[in-house]
């Protein structure tokens, strides 16, 4: 990878010496969870995606020189904020991308607006990022809690799961997901029988599941992610939740979680994602390149990691059009003006409130007998077109879109 970057830089230098072509310098930082419960969803895999995006773009556009750094926010908003400040002020980073954990993302979003840089959120979910907390320097790329709630939530209510009990991670993301799913359930004539909030990174869910069982709700909504979801589903298998007639709604489940649970435990789970490695040939080819670069056997890219590739590609397109990355607001405006097109997400747009639009897909986890090769996790059940998948523009209360 270094070789390609070096060659690209050399070509750029040579090209500069001849024509009047301008060299555009950009610095990108991948701020992610490198060591804790979200590090397989994003983490080092996101850095790999960023490297691939930069390599592909600079090959086609030698006039751009891109430097890449990465950092670990450890799921702590104070550490994430400190890193963001340091990157923007000292290290002259222009774009921060990825950032799973909505608490950290919300903090970094505010900092980015103050410093007029750019923030593309691929990892975090809270729909507030394009709602009341939106700003002109942040773009919410891959997915959000509203899309999850209206994908999985609506589908489950329509197929008979009309009473719900929520197991919610007690921080910004869990609250947002619970709020959006509750709204989706009630809009479709379902009822929410109760909820319980658990601390982030909980080991043992037996006590919370007991309360869920006692509520007799048909659906137990898991408003959490990563290790928390895995622990909850694992404990659920032990306590006979599914045998007792209740179903789990994995409101945010990634391929890496299904890998960790094993198909025996995870089969039948309904989930919504915007990208799956096995959906088409372009995704499969990119996945092979990602796996070769990632060098960790048995791993498959998640939609968050694909979103990092897609986001950087579009960002660099806008930077080249403006010939500068210095003014964050201007680049965001350009990104909203240009339609998006990349091999992974296809054609799409970035909306006025910073929401990237693309279709969502309803998946169901395969049974072990249906899975023919490693990574063969999902059956696609439905596609939600881009204009229906995300919250309507005027329902978000984003200050950028008033009136």
């Amino acid at each position: 990878m270094r070789k390609i970057l070096g060659l690209a830089a050399l070509t750029a230098a040579l090209a500069c010496s001849g024509a009047n072509a301008q060299q555009v310098n950009v610095k990108i930082g991948v701020l992610s969870d490198m060591s804790s419960l979200y590090s397989d969803i994003a983490g080092p895999g996101s850095v790999v995606s960023a490297k691939l995006a930069i390599a592909d773009f600079t090959k086609a556009n030698p006039g751009v020189k891109v430097e890449l750094i990465s950092g670990d926010h450890q799921n702590k908003p104070d550490i994430g904020s400190q890193l963001a400040n340091q990157w923007y002020d000292v290290d002259k980073v222009d774009l921060i991308i990825d950032t799973p954990n909505s608490g950290v993302a919300l903090a970094v979003s505010q900092i980015t607006a103050t410093k007029n840089k750019l923030f593309i959120v691929s990892g975090a979910a809270a729909s507030d990022l394009t709602g009341p907390k939106c700003n002109a320097n942040t773009i919410h790329w891959t997915y959000d809690t509203w899309m999850l709630a209206n994908g999985t939530g609506k589908a489950l209510v329509k197929t008979g799961g009309d009473t719900w009990f929520f197991l919610t991670a007690d921080y910004a993301f869990g609250h947002a997901l619970e709020r959006d799913t509750m709204a989706a359930v009630e809009k479709n004539n379902g009822k929410v029988l109760g909820k319980v909030r658990h601390p982030l990174n909980t080991n043992d869910f037996s006590s919370f599941l007991l309360q869920a069982q006692a509520s007799k709700a048909k659906i137990i909504g898991l408003a959490n992610a990563g290790g928390d979801t895995i622990n909850a589903i694992k404990a659920g298998a032990e306590f006979g939740i599914v045998k007792g007639g209740q179903k789990f709604a994995g409101l945010l489940v990634f391929a890496s979680d299904v890998n960790a649970l094993g198909l025996q435990t995870a089969q039948g789970l309904t989930l919504t994602e915007t990208w799956y490695w096995d959906m088409n040939d372009a995704n499969r080819d990119w996945t092979k390149r990602w796996q070769a670069e990632r060098k960790a056997a048995g791993k498959f890219p998640t939609m968050v990691q694909a979103g990092v590739y897609s986001g950087i590609t579009h960002y660099l397109k806008a930077v080249v059009a403006l010939k500068s990355a210095a003014d964050g607001k201007a680049v965001v405006a350009k990104m909203k003006e240009l339609p998006t097109d990349d091999p992974l997400f296809g054609k799409g747009t970035v909306r006025a409130d910073g929401r990237k639009l693309h279709p969502a897909y309803l998946f169901e986890v395969k049974a072990p007998s249906e899975s023919k090769y490693p990574g063969d996790f999902y059956n696609m059940r439905a596609m939600v077109p881009a204009d229906e998948a995300f919250r309507p523009l005027h329902e978000g209360f984003c200050p950028l879109v008033s009136g």
């Binding site: 060591s35 804790s36 419960l37 590090s39 397989d40 969803i41 983490g43 007690d170 319980v196 909030r197 658990h198 601390p199 990174n201 909980t202 080991n203 043992d204 037996s206 006590s207 919370f208 007991l210 309360q211 069982q213 006692a214 990563g226 290790g227 895995i230 622990n231 694992k234 404990a235 298998a237 032990e238 306590f239 006979g240 007792g244 890496s256 979680d257 890998n259 960790a260 649970l261 094993g262 025996q264 435990t265 960790a296 791993k299």
Partner: protein, 295 residues
């Protein structure tokens, strides 16, 4: 069916039982810590990582030699215990005469290394490990559904805890061990190989942690950070019970498991801080812990 503070009694009894089950994990882990601190005066911060190694050993034994849960219950603690013996011989034996802080720093560093290496090779999402066939399913007790595996956890922990306490407090071997930590020179004069006893004791403490790890593998996520999540709570348990007291660690482990379980019913958001609140209160009132000996 009656209500206590707005929660139906059946739900409450269910939560109490769950609390006992969690308490048995705390008791097992804090037992190992208490043995190591009480006998060796080493604050073993790598206990959580060794618990994680036990779970990983169980997973690897299943993956690569097809050995299931029951053989792993014996083999994994032995394997991890041996690594403990190696650590003691290579590193810890030089630190006994020094301040407690050095042992803490060394074992903390070891914990970080072990976790980092595990995360590098296995990622952080966790590895699948299922409940063994013979313990699957459960029975409906009327007030809750008790999985057979969790019932087994309580029984096994109680057995191990009682067995360890008995060996240390009531047998000749235990007496020799306690004497060796109080006055090693005198005990050596009796012809007892004190260094070997100390090495094996550390190995035993580590094996206890690994045993808890194997027990945890089917029900908790087998991930590199599974130990670090638990170790802070276990340290609080040991401190509350009294740093050197075996009985204190066991009783406090079960007791705090129950209290945490009750907190999850009445105020779930506080469930991971209630133990530290209790630790603060206990230390204010009884600085040596509930069962601890005044140093």
């Amino acid at each position: 069916m009656f209500e206590i503070f707005g929660i139906p009694s059946t739900a409450l009894f269910g939560q109490l039982l769950i609390g006992l089950i969690n308490g048995s994990f705390y008791a097992l882990l804090s037992l190992g810590l208490a043995v190591i601190f009480g006998m060796l005066n080493i604050i073993n911060f790598s206990h959580g990582a060794q618990y994680m190694l036990g779970a990983f050993a169980a997973y690897l034994l299943l993956q690569y030699s097809g050995l299931g849960y029951w053989p792993a219950l014996i083999i994994a603690p032995v394997l991890v215990g041996i690594t403990g013996v190696i650590v003691e011989r290579l590193f810890l034996q030089w630190l006994y005469k020094l301040d407690h802080l050095y042992g803490l720093l060394l074992t903390f560093g070891l914990a970080l290394i072990i976790e980092g290496v595990a995360r590098n090779y296995f990622g952080s999402a966790g590895l699948p490990y299922t409940v063994p066939e013979s313990l699957q399913g459960g029975r409906n007790l009327g007030f809750m559904f008790l999985p057979n595996y969790r019932a087994w956890v309580i029984v096994a922990s109680l057995a191990i805890c009682f067995g360890t306490w008995f060996v240390i407090e009531r047998t000749r071997l235990g007496a020799n061990l306690r004497a060796a930590t109080e006055n090693p020179t005198l005990v050596r004069a009796f012809g007892i190989n004190v260094p070997r006893m100390i090495t094996l004791t550390y190995g035993f403490g580590v094996a206890l942690a690994a045993f808890a790890g194997v027990m945890a593998a089917p029900i908790y996520n087998v991930s590199p950070q599974m130990g670090s999540e638990l170790i802070i709570v276990v340290f609080a348990v040991v401190v509350i019970g009294g740093m050197g007291s075996i009985l204190g660690a066991i009783v406090t482990g079960f007791g705090l498991g129950v209290i945490e379980g009750l907190t999850k019913v009445f105020f779930p958001e506080a469930s991971n801080t209630v133990i530290f609140v209790i630790m603060a209160i206990v230390l204010l009132v009884r600085p040596a812990g509930l069962f601890g000996r005044r140093a």
